[in-house]
């Protein structure tokens, strides 16, 4: 008994430094951010306490931020319903063992390795209104009337930034799923085959249910990644034209670093953190049941 308590103590002591560092660089800054959100503060000079006014403004008056949240939800939707299904299909095909499996795996993963700055520039060239590849293709097909300044038009600017995001991370999710599928024991498939299951049936009855823990990770990454998306929007449109492609983090950036509104920017930052945490919790609980089922096997 004594030795058990002793071990617990030493475990606690050894965990303490890690916990302390974690608190110091993750937990404490979150609360400091929330605290700064209560002030009107320009980064230097006096901090005026204004209570919850920043948060009130955030939820009630800020049309731009609301549109930003809407955009981030659209992006989350695109990740969830376009990116992940593509990744899953690719992963299943690759894991089944096609020719040049390694080659394709590398090809699909290449965009993940390239810096988003480079990919952003690449897509800027593709979507350019004057010499862009997309417009050139449309023109050569005789579809001139559909050619437009994709990133300069309010209707298409945000979609223009969503496409590269979806495209870049397909390979990333594919690789996680591919690894997950590879770790499913092959005897289950053999049993299914003996029972006469076809490919579609094995996919829906064996692969996907057993892949649930991995899918949960992918869904969490995709959704949280969408909510805090920043790089492509910043590089490709800067949030414009007229905030049409702004997402919460670019708006926060503008407030913090261009308008010098540190208090209000902090309130927005805190909201983004909360939003991400809340969503991860929801995903956790949604997947709980199917995950339990998967681990039971």
């Amino acid at each position: 008994m004594n030795s058990l308590i002793y071990t617990k103590k030493s475990i606690a002591v050894f965990l303490l430094p890690a916990l302390a560092i974690y608190c110091a660089i993750v937990i404490v800054p979150i609360f400091i951010t929330a605290y700064f959100g209560l002030f009107e503060y320009n980064g230097m000079g006096s901090m005026d306490f204004i209570g919850l006014d920043n948060y009130k403004k955030l939820f009630l008056d800020d049309e731009v931020f609301r549109n930003g949240i809407l955009n981030s939800l659209k992006l989350a939707g695109a990740s969830l319903f376009i990116q992940l299904p593509i990744a899953l299909v690719l992963a299943m095909i690759l894991a089944k063992g096609v020719r040049f499996e390694k080659f394709y795996r590398t090809i699909y993963f290449i965009p993940v390795v390239i810096s988003s700055m480079v990919i952003g520039q690449l897509w800027l060239r593709i979507l350019n209104g004057d010499y862009g590849l997309l417009n050139a293709i449309l023109n050569s097909l005789g579809l001139e009337k559909y050619a437009m300044v994709w990133l300069g038009d309010e209707r298409t600017a945000f979609a223009g930034t969503v496409v590269p995001v979806v495209w870049q991370y397909v390979g990333y999710h594919m690789l996680i799923m591919y690894a997950g599928i590879k770790s499913i024991p092959t005897d289950i498939y053999e049993a299914a085959k003996i029972d006469g299951a076809n490919n579609i049936q094995t996919a829906f009855r064996i692969t996907i249910p057993l892949l649930m823990p991995v899918l949960k990770v992918c869904v969490t990454f995709a959704l949280v990644g969408s909510l805090r998306a920043f790089d492509f929007v910043y590089i490709m449109t800067g949030g414009g034209p007229f905030h049409a492609s702004d997402v919460p983090s670019t708006i926060m950036y503008t407030n913090l670093f261009r308008k010098g509104a540190y208090g209000y920017g902090s309130a927005q930052a805190f909201f983004i953190i909360l939003e991400c945490l809340l969503l991860s919790l929801i995903i956790q609980s949604l997947f709980k049941k199917s995950e339990d089922a998967a681990s039971a096997i």
Binding site: S10, F14, P17, I21, N42, G43, M44, G152
Partner: protein
């Protein structure tokens, strides 16, 4: 015994962790500043920051030479320089001055609305006591406007810029269009060039400041420098009818196809490149762009560019008013341990860099005295010639207004470009 060793190891490890954590907690010990005075000959280290981080930058070369010369002349002073790229540099200054800012003595910054925040929080050293030695007689009158707050001078001018309408005369000639001197001629030229499939005036409106150049140029002619400067300094309202008229003219130009259809998706870099590649007839830019016309390796317009003034209109502006002025310079941290030495270096570096920049076609010096014009390119000489007649000038608004007002202004101008705002709503946004 074993347990004892375990305990000892555990104790040492946690101790080490706690120590390293507390050591991290106070990073701002002013190490460099306090070492010096102990030395026998009292060497003083001045920490200087600027934003020319690229080795190929000409201003950086000039700066480095100037500092070497200064250290040779002042054996008791050691200059330690630190640089960062523009955006990162701004953030560095903000964070440094949000805390006690003990790491820097002299630093590069922008006057007008940018430095106002620093001045109002008492972060900068006023130089009035240090420039009584005749320094003020050496600088051009009116060149300290952007460095003066509440009657006190906080910095001295380095070099100025001026806005110019760069015109590719070859395009004008082949399309038999006249280089515009008035707004009506500009509108006419844009209509004609646009009809022939030539991009008339390339603007990188994706970058707010570049879009704002066009509006501010029009406003200068409609409203006049005095009233605009009043508005920018907060002493006059944004109520002159000329402001709305300038907005209307901007939209008239947009409708005439003056900026092409993709201007809102074009960055200022891309716009520069388009003009240098000979794809656009005009570019409204600062005098610093003159160098690129000759030295940029992709420039196809070396001998084809002429510098025109901002076209005139029937408004209140006068032809001798220009857009531009002195805005960049070196400042002294109010919290420095070496006020005297920092102020002396600040005076020195602003003067030397101002003159050197002027001799290398990068601007116009704010200091009296002979400037060697032999190395200047023809465009810069032409611009210098125009500026001689100057009676008044307005800085870029985004450097004069405070940060929040700047963002509002830039976004409103971009909205004008996209026909999202009527001139009336545009004026309202500024009030």
């Amino acid at each position: 015994m074993k347990q004892l060793i375990k305990k000892a190891v555990c104790f040492v490890l946690t101790g080490a962790m706690i120590f390293s954590l507390t050591a991290c907690a106070k990073p701002n010990t002013p190490a460099a500043a306090e070492q010096a005075p102990a030395a026998a000959e009292e060497k003083i280290t001045l920490n200087v920051w600027h934003q020319w981080s690229n080795d190929t930058n000409d201003l950086r070369k000039i700066y480095t030479q100037a500092v070497e010369k200064y250290m040779a002349e002042h054996s008791n002073v050691v200059i330690k320089t630190d640089t960062l790229d523009t955006e990162a540099y701004k953030t560095k200054i903000n964070t440094a001055f949000a805390s006690n800012s003990a790491d820097v003595d002299v630093f590069y910054y922008w006057g007008g609305g940018k430095a106002r925040k620093l001045v109002e929080s008492g972060k900068l050293l006023a130089l009035d006591d240090y420039v009584k030695d005749g320094t003020m007689d050496k600088i051009l009158p009116g060149s300290t406007t952007a460095f003066t707050y509440n009657g006190k001078v906080y910095s001295l001018p380095m070099f100025s810029w001026n806005m110019v309408l760069y015109c590719n005369k070859e395009i004008f000639e082949t399309n038999s269009v006249k280089i515009p001197e008035t707004y009506d001629e500009l509108l006419d030229a844009c209509k004609k060039l646009s009809a022939k499939g030539v991009l008339p005036l390339v603007v990188g409106a994706k970058d707010g400041w570049n879009a704002a150049f066009v509006y501010e140029a029009l406003a200068l002619r409609e409203v006049g420098a005095e009233k605009i400067n009043g508005y920018l300094s907060g002493s006059a309202k944004f109520d002159d009818p000329g402001y709305a008229e300038a907005a209307r003219k901007l939209q008239e130009l947009t409708a005439a196809g003056a900026f092409g259809k993709s201007t809102l998706a074009t960055s200022h870099d891309e716009a520069d490149a388009a003009f240098l590649a000979g794809k656009a007839a005009m570019r409204l830019m600062g005098s610093w762009f003159a160098g690129a016309v000759y030295t940029n390796k992709d420039s196809k317009v070396q001998d084809k560019v002429v510098a025109a003034k901002i076209p005139m209109s029937a408004g209140n502006g006068s032809a001798t008013e220009f857009k531009g002025g002195f805005i960049e310079s070196f400042w002294v941290n109010g919290n420095t341990a070496h006020k005297e030495e920092s102020a002396a270096f600040c005076k020195y570096i602003n003067e030397v860099m101002g003159k050197a920049a002027a001799e290398n076609s990068m601007g116009f010096a704010g200091w009296k005295g002979d400037i060697d014009t032999s190395k200047l390119n023809p465009l810069t000489l032409a611009i210098a010639d125009q500026v001689k007649t100057q009676t008044g000038s307005v800085l870029a608004w985004d450097t004069s207004l405070d940060e929040a007002a700047t963002v509002t202004h830039l976004e409103a101008v971009q909205a004008l470009f996209g026909n999202k705002l009527t001139p009336e709503k545009f004026v309202e946004a500024h009030q």
